[in-house]
Structures are given as C-alpha cells and as structure tokens.
C-alpha cells in the first residue's frame, strides 16, 4: 500500500507586482518592477542604499501608492484599495521594518501582542493572546523580556522582538527590511538563522531586502531541521532529509536606482559579469 501521490495543486500567488513604478516628487524610487511570489518562495533583494529596496517593500504592503502598475496580495488587487480596506489584507502579512519599528512606548509583550489585539480579522481571547505572545518570544529566545521596554534591549534583541511581532499571527508571507542592518556579524547571523528557522518551521514565503550577500547565501543554502533543531546545509543531491519537502530555490534580485537589474538563481548571480551586480558577491579567494 502506498500513499496516493500528493496532487500538484498550483501554489497560490501571495504577492505579485506588475510594472510598479513609484516616485517621490521628481525622484523615481521604483521603475517598472515586476515579479511574483508564490507560497513557500524565498526571494532575496540586494541593492545599494537608495536603490528602492525599502520602497519596494512598502509598495508591496500598500503603504506607498504606486504611480503606475499594479500590486496584488493574495491574488487581490490592492492598488486602488482605500487605507481601511487594506488593513485586513495587510494583517495577513508579517513585516519586519528596518531597525524593527517597535513601539517604544509599550512593553515588549504589548508590542508582540499588538497585531493580535489590534487587527480586525484576529479576535482572540486574552489567555490565547498571552499564550501566542509567549510562544513567539520563546521562538526568538527572548521569553524573559516580556515586561521590558524596547529601549532597554540591545539592537539585536530589538530585532528579534520585531521578528516575533512579525510572525506572531503566523502569516503565510513575511517581508523583512534589512534584518541585519547595523548589527555585528555574529548577531546578524543569529538573526538570519532565526529567519530561516521561521521559514522552514512554518513554511512561510519570505521577501528579504538586504545589503549583505551572506544573508541571501544563508537563506539559499541552509535549511532548518526540525528534528535536530539545527540549520543544515542543503545537500546537493536533493534534500530527502528535510521532511521530503523540496526547498524551493531562492530567487535573487538586484535593484539599482529603482530598477530591477537582475533576477535569477544564486549561481546566475555569482556568474554575472556586470560590475554593479558582482559588487554584491564576495570574491572567492
């Protein structure tokens, strides 16, 4: 007796951008960017400061209205939605802002509980909220900081709390804006390991905006193993060890002055001869 093979249903589209352009006054921040992310996808966006990475992320959430083009979240066109109509859709996306974006007037626990308490789609009893907050903070190994204020934490800890807040609602899609910016290399690795762990234990799709190639490298080549609780390199001959779920290859994307100048796999990125693109790939010594 063999189990019936899993039916290959088309994976739902989570985020799709079609020729999105954004401009601030006379400055073009995004120009004709198009891509699609489906359930389980990992996409790493590289680019210099001011290349439109953060704008891309905010446009994806509808925080910035595109001048032209269309944005779809979960298959729904959000381009022309009003702010109030967008709250429900947005609450299904997890976001980590640059520097975390934690509310510094409330405690860590209240910060993490915020998406649970304040969104209209999630109406949970208090006990359940507390439970979910503790779980989320335990996930980032900060369960002892519940009553602290964000200002009392170190930069790395704040970033971890922000991750807990981003994933507390268990969203199918999480957007990370420069999760490692301004952190030392060791803390940066801890943060990236957490993000990979979150991705692989919840099967979320990730859009990661970063300046560090190593961040993308880690997302593309490592997988969290639930049984060992460790990050393990993906073996070249498939990944049967990882619960049979084939990790989707990470897609890399490079932004330059608002334009998408590269989209492809890690191998293609490393093979690129373009002087701008190859700047992001460390030279093999």
């Amino acid at each position: 007796m063999t189990a019936p093979p899993p039916t290959q249903s088309p994976r739902p589209s989570l985020l799709r951008m079609e020729n999105v352009s954004v401009s601030f006054d006379d400055l073009t921040a995004l120009a004709l960017v198009s891509f699609e992310m489906q359930a389980g996808d990992t996409r790493v966006v590289l680019g210099a400061a001011g290349s439109g990475k953060t704008t891309l992320l905010k446009a994806a959430l509808g925080l910035i209205k595109p001048a032209s083009g269309r944005v779809f979240l979960f298959g729904q066109d959000i381009t022309d939605l009003g702010e109030r109509e967008m709250y429900d859709i947005r609450s299904r996306v997890g976001v980590l802002f640059q520097e975390g974006g934690l509310f510094d007037s409330i405690t860590v626990a209240e910060n993490v509980a915020y998406p649970l308490v304040n969104s209209k789609t999630q109406r949970l009893p208090v006990a359940e909220v507390d439970h979910r907050v503790e779980d989320a903070l335990r996930f980032v190994e900060l369960e002892h900081t519940l009553e602290k204020y964000p200002g009392e934490l170190s930069g790395g800890m704040r970033r971890r709390v922000a991750i807990a807040r981003a994933v507390v609602t268990e969203p199918p899609l999480v957007l990370y804006d420069s999760p490692t910016a301004g952190l030392d290399p060791i803390t940066a690795n801890t943060i990236m390991a957490l993000i990979a762990k979150e991705r692989d234990s919840q099967n979320t799709a990730n859009l990661i905006v970063t300046q560090r190639y190593q961040d993308g490298q880690l997302m593309a080549n490592f997988r969290y193993n639930r049984s060992s609780g460790q990050l393990e390199p993906i073996s070249p001959n498939g990944s049967a060890a990882n619960h049979g779920s084939n990790p989707r290859p990470t897609v890399f994307m490079v932004m330059k002055e608002g334009r998408m100048v590269f989209e492809g796999s890690q191998a293609e990125l490393e093979a690129s001869r373009d002087s701008y693109i190859s700047k992001f790939v460390p030279k093999h010594s």
Partner: protein
Amino acid sequence: MLDFLKPPVAAIQDFFGLAGLALRNILRAPHYTDDIALQMDVIGVGSLPIVILTGFFSGLVITMQMSRALAQYGATGQVGQIVAITLARELGPVLTALLVAGRNASGIASELGSMKVTEQIDAMRALGTDPIQKLVTPRMIATAVMLPMLTIIADFVGLCGGFVIAYFTLSQTASQYWTNAYQALEYNDIVQGLLKPFVFAFIISLVGCFYGLRTSGGTQGVGRATTEAVVVASVWVFVITALITRIFVNLT
C-alpha cells in the same frame, strides 16, 4: 508661475484632510479609550501646575497695572470687574492655549515625529491600525476636553491673584472684590471664554499631529517639526481669538 504657492496650499489641504479624518473617527469604532485617558492625563493634569502659576501671576499683574490706571479716575473699586472681564474673555483662554501649545503641540509633534522617522507609523499601518484613529483622534479629544477645563482653572486662579492685590494693597474687602468681579460677567463673556479654548484645542492638537506625521529627515526633522508646530499653533491661536472676539463684539 504661481508655483511658490503650491506647497502652502498643499499643506493647508493636507491639514484639513487630516482634521476631517480625525473628526470622522470620533464616531467610528474602534475607540481607543485608554489612549484618550492617557492623553488627558498628559495634556490636562500635566499642564495644571504651569497653568495655575501663570494664571495666578497674570491676575496679580493685571490688578497692579489696572489699579494704577483706575486710581486716576478714583475708580480702584472697580478693579475686580476689569480683572474678571479681561481674564474670562481673553487672557485666560489665550494664555492657557499658548502654554498648552508650547507644552503639548511640541510634545505631540516630537512624539509622532520620532515615531514617523523610526517607521513606527508605518509599522502601525502595516499591523492593521489606523494611525489617525490611534494617535490623532485621542489627542484631539483629550485636548478638546482638557483645554476648556484648564482655562476655567486659569480664570479662577487669576481672579484669586487679583484678589491678593485688591485685599492687601488696595485694602478692599473680600465681598467688595468678588461681588464686583462676579457681577461684571455676563453670559456672553462665559460663552466666548469657553468657546475659544474649545476651538484652540482642535488647532493645537491637530497642528501638533500634522507636523509630527509629516516629519521627514531623521532626528533633525523631528526638531524642525516640533518648532514649526509650536510657532504655527501659537499664531493660529492669536488669529482665531481675534476672529471670535470680533464676532462676539458684533453680537452685543
């Protein structure tokens, strides 16, 4: 050709847009009552000491100045009347509004400005809450409730300040001063004395929120937003008080 007019006109339009949204939210769920209570404490109770101090000394000073002027006509007995009218109609509301503008328009602008530059406002929107509903409306309601109350307190303390001078240096009796002050006030004075702080409250809170929410350019931007908020709120307090006074002078 008239390009230089565009930014101020756009700013005024944005301001009224914000004011409209903030007012509409009063009737809409969710209501953040905790935030309203917190802001009432910050704006109302927090401003109390400075309002009492300023109110008392302005009453004191008006009485000293007026008693000298009235002495020329031998009418120092009428000093209570003058203090009462000046305070209730004009000085109470305007001084209190200026103090609250300095204290709270700046506080609001810097708080919201810091939240803006650290992406907390974006985070709020991303997490499914309306920053106008959560931040602006509670501050507006709290100021609209507290400023008239602070004004009443300032008026009363100012009259007390006047009484100190009337009693000790003009040798008036308590009943002479207070009766004189009390009888001078008409409904008209009370109405305009309470209408003014109510209108000022909207200006102060909304100007503070407006400049806070449009902060850009990091920490320096927060400082700029704070300064602009206080200056603009104070200027509008003077303009509006002139308008309201004009209307009430015509009414009688």
